[in-house]
Subunit: 115 residues, 2 copies
DNA sequence: CATATTAGTTACCTTTTGGTTACTACTTTC
DNA sequence: GAAAGTAGTAACCAAAAGGTAACTAATATG
């Protein structure tokens, strides 16, 4: 059930980066949290099609990695708020560049993929 | 066998970026081809542990996306050389920033992952 | 006493991604 | 005539990632 997240510190830095952000949701969560705090449920609603299970797992992993902060209030019903750390914020301009870059790949994307 | 690579142009740009580089090998291949041309076999040797099948598939996809150029020579035995397009090269500085960013995430990575 | 509300968790399943092994075609060299 | 050398491809598998649906705890409200 719980898989260890043991990372090799001598690992290739680009591999390491991809381990962090190279999945379907992490960078979208970072974008969603840009300049604001959101509750778990708000994130689940705003991020189209993410499942709560995966959202919970991603947030946990991102917290471990020091990208988000989780603040939990002892209220009923519970309230948990997520926001970016400074590290999370430093990711934003890089993601912006990536977006800009990917946008000017114009191509005939009806082609095949054979992975 | 062949899955269509039909991309939605109105797709969230960060999702689009992740579709391009968010996998185990694409950005490593980009790094390997920085400032040089390499043959298929050289890439397979230099990129530790990649399988030839996946390397061939990635290169094909990257060619479609306009990131690499494939030059094939009608010799025996065959010679095929890969190099970066200008677009591929424009990815390099962004990947460098990503590496720099990921390096200063220092953490106790013996923690758990429950994805 | 039933219902609503929130932030998850659990068990189970499907899809996607990547890996392994064996094979091909063509020519040169031994 | 056999072996070497290159750039793949095909069939088959294993692992990882992500999705679905049902469920929980705790209190307030009607």
């Amino acid at each position: 059930m719980a898989r260890k997240l043991i990372e090799n510190p001598n690992e290739c830095p680009i591999t390491h980066s991809m381990n962090i952000i190279g999945n379907k949701w992490t960078s979208i969560i970072v974008y969603m949290l840009a300049n604001r705090k959101l509750r778990f449920g708000e994130l689940a609603i705003r991020i189209d099609k993410i499942s709560r299970k995966v959202l919970a797992n991603q947030l946990k992993e991102m917290e471990l990695r020091g990208i988000v902060i989780r603040e939990s209030y002892a209220e009923i019903p519970p309230r948990v708020e997520y926001s970016l750390t400074e590290k999370g914020e430093r990711l934003l301009p890089i993601l912006n560049q990536l977006c800009a870059w990917s946008k000017d790949i114009e191509l005939d994307m009806t082609a095949e993929k054979t992975n």
